[in-house]
């Protein structure tokens, strides 16, 4: 075991899969340039030395092209791991992901597989409104795409490896402030022991990050950690939060969520992605449609205001839901 950051864990997952399967390759902007950055977050740093520039393929700044080319290569049996630096840039590539990646298998009598992995950094991190958006809800709305959102190094590695081996297009969301050392003051240190031995985490299984009997909290990516921090504080007051990390939105592990709410009778979603038509609304609908009678209190979502992401730290802090917000809401529900 060694302590790894999310960035290191992701890099290791890529390298392991690339060693085992020559079909796996990376494609994106500034990912393999000698003396360069290893992508916007250093994740692919050093990989071109081991795997060469054919397999760590630098591209022009052309996201629709990147996504489309990756889709084409995937159809032929390659296993591209594509990235577009910041998730916000993926809007340029939306057509390829939604109209092609998510649909070509359906149109081909199942003769086509699109084993595409798209790595998508999301979340607020001090870069202003066009470098801060969350896209996991948006893409979870599209049938034909799997949606993966790891919150820890362990999950990031095991899930990415599964995503690379998956024969379907998988959108893997990574939160910028969880990567580790990325020169951001606000970054969380979530590094942890990660086994050296190979392991996989199946796509579609939620993880109970903390057990508790009083309220079910569902978080995703960075808000999992927000929930865990709140849980620690609330424990002192005798309130036990159960923190569920769905880890994948599509397919969603409904069972784990429902089981938890059956036990606690209460649910709060904490979400960095905009609330309206978001994944939290989906979870609330799941719970209220399926186990309405188990609920002892109204469900509740905590999230940002419905605004673009502002730049100044004081506004950014206001924008992102934090443990104070969660603790306040818990108090209301328990009180």
């Amino acid at each position: 075991m060694r302590r790894l950051s999310v960035a290191e864990a992701v890099r290791e997952a890529i390298a392991e899969e690339m060693r085992q399967n020559e079909k796996v390759f990376c494609i994106g902007e500034d990912i393999g340039i000698e003396g360069g950055f290893g992508g916007a977050f250093g994740v692919t740093q050093g990989l071109s030395e081991e795997f060469g520039h054919q397999r760590i393929l630098d591209t022009p700044i052309a996201e629709a092209g990147i996504a489309g080319v990756a889709i084409g290569a995937a159809i032929m049996g390659m296993r591209p791991i594509a990235d577009v630096q910041y998730g916000d840039f993926i809007f340029v590539a939306m057509d390829q992901l939604i109209n092609n990646a998510a649909k070509l298998r359906y149109l081909s009598k199942g003769k086509i597989k699109v084993p595409l992995v798209m790595r998508i950094p999301v979340g607020v991190s001090g870069r202003g409104t066009q470098h801060a958006q969350s896209l996991e809800s948006l893409l979870s709305h599209i049938p034909g795409l799997k949606i993966v959102c790891p919150s820890t190094p362990y999950d990031a590695k095991g899930l990415l490896k599964s995503a690379i081996r998956d024969d379907n297009p998988v959108m893997v969301f990574e939160h910028k402030l969880l990567y580790g050392a990325t020169g951001r003051k606000e970054a969380l240190d979530v590094s942890m022991d990660v086994p050296k031995e190979e392991y996989l985490i199946p796509i579609g299984r939620a993880d109970v990050k903390r057990e508790g009997k009083d309220i079910t909290i569902v978080g995703l990516l960075k808000t999992v950690h927000t929930a865990l921090t709140a849980a620690k504080r609330l424990k002192k007051e005798g309130i036990e939060l159960e923190v569920i990390d769905p880890r994948t939105l599509v397919p969603l592990d409904e069972e784990t969520i429902l089981k938890s709410v059956k036990k606690t009778g209460r649910i709060i979603i904490i979400q960095e992605d905009n609330l309206f038509s978001g994944w939290g609304a989906e979870v609330i609908s799941l719970v209220t449609e399926k186990i309405f009678d188990y609920l002892d209190a109204p469900p509740k979502r905590i999230g940002p205001p419905a605004t673009p992401v502002p730049f100044a730290p004081v506004m950014e802090k206001y924008y992102v839901p934090d443990e104070e917000d969660l603790i306040k809401e818990v108090a209301k529900i328990m009180g």
Binding site: P60, A64, G72, M76, M78, Q96, R105, S108, P143
Partner: protein, 327 residues
């Protein structure tokens, strides 16, 4: 112009037959459509047969093509079975997309044709990716992307052709310039005369060819494809042509000048090809008739097949979303 020594008589006849097959298929589909036997919409290919036929005549079965909202001709030329195409138009379970796609998404991976992509320009990056994989896997396959003049206004065209160029990929970009994107004349959407000029932005060859002359298309396509296969990179091929009918369904083409139509409709690629083949002694009028009769039977067979094929079950909707587990 035509160098008989370069093409075998069989190839001549085969390519000509493909054109006839496409024409008859489209003519028949048009009627069936008007009679209401087919749901949805259609974009027909009459007038452009020489392009699909001549380009695909130079491809191997394992080579790949991407197509557009107007895919029937490409599908027939690449070898998708007439039965499965007709069945798809009839929305039958035996269709090439199992009735999930319809006219605009025809294809069959077994003969190297992706389901057609009906988003204008959307297939060009995908074709480039097919070629990238071919290069990475050393499979020797060539990818051809068919698209219209209108598609070259899309950003996807620009991004993809540039990538094909810088990586020297085995791909040929075939623009069928039929002068219109839907109702919009080329002159309204570009200041240049030839789409092929855009190749210079990417540092690759751009070629203009008479798209109604199957022999000319054959020559340049052969060259571009073999260039691609040899690892020398992509070519942008502009085939000047004209669609004989409307853009889709019930379009009466009132936006096209009568004079222009007259000139172009006179340049029908099929009689043109037949005449030359007869001159060359490769074809006789009798043989030509036989081909037409043979193709007629094929089409009839396809229609009967489609008619007697079962409809999909409603629940088939749920199938083939994800590999390994539906939904």
């Amino acid at each position: 112009m035509i160098d008989k020594t370069k093409i075998s008589p069989n190839k001549f006849i085969e390519t000509y037959t493909t054109m006839v097959r496409i024409r008859q298929f489209e003519d028949r589909v048009y009627l069936l459509f008007l009679e209401g036997e087919m749901p949805g919409t259609i974009h027909l290919y009459q007038g452009q047969e020489a392009v699909a036929a001549a380009v695909c005549a130079n491809l191997r079965r394992e080579d790949l093509i991407t197509s557009t909202h107007r895919p029937h001709g490409h599908a027939i030329a690449k070898g998708v079975s007439l039965r499965s195409l007709m069945a798809e138009l009839f929305a039958k379970k035996t269709g090439c997309c199992e009735a999930k796609g319809g006219s605009m998404h025809m294809g069959d991976m077994d003969v190297g044709m992706l389901p057609a992509i009906a988003i204008v320009g959307g297939g060009i990056p995908v074709a480039t990716g097919l070629a990238l994989a071919s290069k990475m896997m050393h499979s020797g396959k060539v990818a051809v992307s068919f698209f219209g003049d209108g598609a070259t206004s899309e950003g996807a065209f620009h991004e993809a052709v540039n990538m094909g160029a810088i990586w020297n990929l085995p791909v040929v970009y075939v623009c069928e310039n039929n002068l219109y994107g839907a109702s919009t004349h080329q002159s309204k959407v570009m200041k240049i005369k030839n789409v092929a000029e855009r190749a210079s932005s990417y540092g690759i060859p751009g070629k203009v060819v008479d798209g109604n002359d199957v022999f000319s298309v054959y020559e340049v396509a052969k060259e571009a494809i073999s260039r691609a296969r040899k690892g020398k990179g992509p070519t942008l091929l502009e085939c000047k042509t004209y669609r004989r009918g409307g853009h889709s369904r019930s379009d009466a083409c009132r936006y096209r000048g009568k004079e222009e139509e007259k000139v172009w409709l006179a340049k029908d690629p099929i009689p043109q090809a037949r005449k030359k083949l007869v001159q060359l002694g490769v074809l006789t009028e009798k043989k030509a008739k036989e081909i037409e009769e043979k193709v007629k039977k094929e089409i009839k067979d396809a229609i009967e097949y489609a008619r007697r094929s079962p409809s999909p079950e409603p629940e088939d909707t749920l199938v083939n979303v994800f590999v390994g587990g539906e939904n």
